[in-house]
């Protein structure tokens, strides 16, 4: 459905990186301040054509501010930013013509029905009426909303609204699709449907850039990601690389009685590369979880429950950004 991609990123051709694939986004020392508050404090990012790139981070990490600068709707405070080989400060409209934007909050128009939302939006890009109508019908099919074409937006479920927003962001056949927390607030079924659709887009060669604070989403969708915290990039790599760099292969989880964990941590300290004490369990970060468990048993400790699992991106995330709440 996105066949007409032959002229993808012709302007980006000028900016070709070391590995020869066109650079869709290049940021150097990018900063964004709102008054005294510095939301983005100097980040370097490079996203290549066909890549699926993620910004991970807790609330307030600066992900959305970064996304809005990339969407050419928020001027950077300082630093360099090039989108599709162009400068958003001077070529904002030309950049936006080739972007698809799926914002964090739905901006669908409740005055219009489902299909009209797509057709009217397509007209903003100057797509001829007959084409945009045909395109709208294709996209409704793609996001499984064909039978809702004439429905009012307010009658749609949250998942349907997200799918419609994604369909709308595809109306201009974008070279670069920006998704700001695309599945926040959706139930598991709706999330999986959306992931499936995003995966298909990725396979059609669309460059995806998304923000999320769901680790499973990042592992599912991202080839490469950066973890942001406090306006800075604190780690960068593929999901697997990040796990290798910032966590161990496995994690052994030990549950003892409430209140005992703090005291018991000292007794297992030497069994793992790192031990983390939580109110309800001890986490032993180790290369071999079963071996660690065996040694725990040898020492006569009897945890009420044990679990050995692979390290996940969530372990990395919590390690890098901490467990305390960010409000």
């Amino acid at each position: 459905m996105l066949e007409n991609r032959t002229d993808t990123a012709e302007a980006a051709e000028a900016a070709v990186s070391e590995d020869q694939s066109p650079v869709m986004i290049r940021a150097r020392g990018l900063r964004k301040s709102f008054g005294d508050f510095e939301a983005v404090r100097g980040i370097d990012v490079e996203v290549h054509r066909g890549e699926s790139f993620g910004f991970l981070g807790p609330n307030g990490a600066g992900k959305s501010s970064t996304m809005r600068m990339i969407a050419a709707v928020s001027p950077p405070t300082s630093g360099e930013l090039t989108i599709l080989g162009m400068d958003p400060a001077t070529d904002g409209a030309a950049i936006r013509a080739r972007l698809g934007v799926c914002p964090q909050e739905d901006t669908l128009d409740s005055e219009l029905n489902v299909r009209e939302n797509l057709v009217v939006y397509g007209r903003y890009f100057g797509i001829p009426k007959a084409e945009v109508v045909a395109r709208a019908d294709q996209l409704l099919e793609f996001v499984a909303l064909t039978d809702r074409a004439k429905a009012k937006v307010e009658d749609l479920s949250g998942g349907m609204k997200r799918r419609l927003t994604i369909a709308r962001s595809l109306i201009n056949n974008p070279d670069l699709l920006l998704l700001d927390e695309p599945t926040t607030g959706l139930d598991p079924q709706a999330r999986h449907v959306l992931w499936d659709q995003l995966f298909r887009l990725k396979h059609q060669g669309v460059t995806l850039v998304l923000t999320t604070h769901y680790m499973d989403e990042a592992e599912q969708l991202c080839d490469r990601l950066v973890v942001m915290d406090g306006g800075l990039i604190v780690a960068e790599g593929s999901p697997l690389e990040l796990i290798r760099q910032h966590s161990t292969r496995e994690v052994a989880e030990l549950r003892f009685g409430v209140g005992e964990h703090e005291a018991l941590a000292a007794q297992v300290e030497d069994l793992a590369e790192r031990v983390e004490v939580l109110p309800d369990r001890l986490l032993l970060y180790t290369h071999d979880g079963e071996e660690a468990l065996a040694k725990v048993n040898e020492r006569g400790m009897r945890p009420a429950a044990v679990l050995v699992r692979r390290s996940t991106l969530e372990d990395v995330f919590l390690r890098l950004t901490g467990r305390s709440l960010v409000d």
């Binding site: 007409n4 001027p75 409209a93 914002p103 005055e111 007209r123 084409e131 045909a134 709308r168 056949n173």
Partner: protein, 270 residues
């Protein structure tokens, strides 16, 4: 399926504004019935109540009514201009606020090649469309009451309404664009729209006010619209005064336009 996205390097501003036609046509098709009562019927109730029925008791005319042959002929152009002010105001208060804050329609729009000035221009063009249709209906109905002295005057009065609508529409648009709470609309109505409606010479000659208040009335925008409309329907055009009225409303429109674009940009491009 090939999709033609025109190279957005340099679409003209006019083209960008026209790209929003489908939006406004669709919105109007959905909402015109609701606006029909307030646009077309309410003002005619005023004409009937104040002009025909109340006017029947008012035994004045000529000198006391700025040369109008009857109270109806005096009040009709005033009601028209005042109603156009309210129509324009209504279109750029809650609807604009909603597109910024509730629906966030504008946020969707700025993610496309449309710029802030294109969005404001298309919205104000829709306001002008509403003003134009409302004026045509109002003027057509007044035709039955014999308040015009010439066709030219009636057409002139129509054009003046576009200017009145643009002047109020653009300034209040700018006000709304920077508003952080809808409570601000109450202020506009209580301190702006209603006092102007009552004291800008729509219902009585402003000479009836005390001297300072009369001068205050002469400084307010609606009086310029009312006086200009009345001059045209009564066929008593004073070119110098008319030129001042037109200049006042044109400058107000220009300032309102500049203010609207600036405030909406500050609101959305952060």
């Amino acid at each position: 399926m090939a999709v033609t996205v025109p190279p957005a390097t340099s679409p003209s501003r006019v083209a960008l504004v026209l790209r929003q036609a489908a939006y406004w046509v669709t919105v109007y098709r959905r909402t015109w019935k609701g606006s029909a009562v307030s646009s077309f019927l309410t003002p005619l109730l005023y004409v009937a109540a104040m002009g025909v029925l109340l006017g029947g008791y008012i035994d004045a005319g000529g000198a006391q009514l700025e040369g109008a042959p009857s109270y109806l002929a005096f009040i009709a152009p005033g009601l028209l201009a005042a109603h156009i002010m309210q129509t324009a105001a209504g279109e750029v208060m809650w609807p604009v606020y909603g597109m910024i804050k509730w629906n966030k329609t504008y946020l969707g729009m700025i993610a496309t090649p449309l710029g802030i000035s294109d969005i404001v221009a298309a919205h104000l063009m829709f306001v002008l469309f509403r003003v134009a249709t409302t004026s045509v209906v109002f003027l057509a109905v007044l035709g039955f009451f014999d308040v015009y002295t010439s066709w030219v005057g009636a057409v002139g009065a129509f054009l003046v309404q576009l200017l009145v609508g643009l002047a109020f529409g653009s300034v209040i648009y700018g006000y709304t664009a920077g508003l952080s709470s809808e409570a601000g609309f109450t202020v506009v109505y209580r301190l702006g729209v209603i006092p102007l409606f009552l004291f800008s010479g729509a219902f009585f000659p402003i000479e009836n006010l005390s001297a300072p208040l009369e001068w205050l009335a002469r400084l307010t925008p609606l009086w310029h619209g009312v006086d200009l409309t009345r001059m045209l329907t009564l066929g008593k055009l004073d070119l110098a005064t008319a030129a001042v009225h037109v200049a006042y409303l044109a400058v107000m429109s220009a300032v309102g336009w500049w203010w609207s674009v600036r405030r909406l940009k500050r609101r959305l491009i952060v």
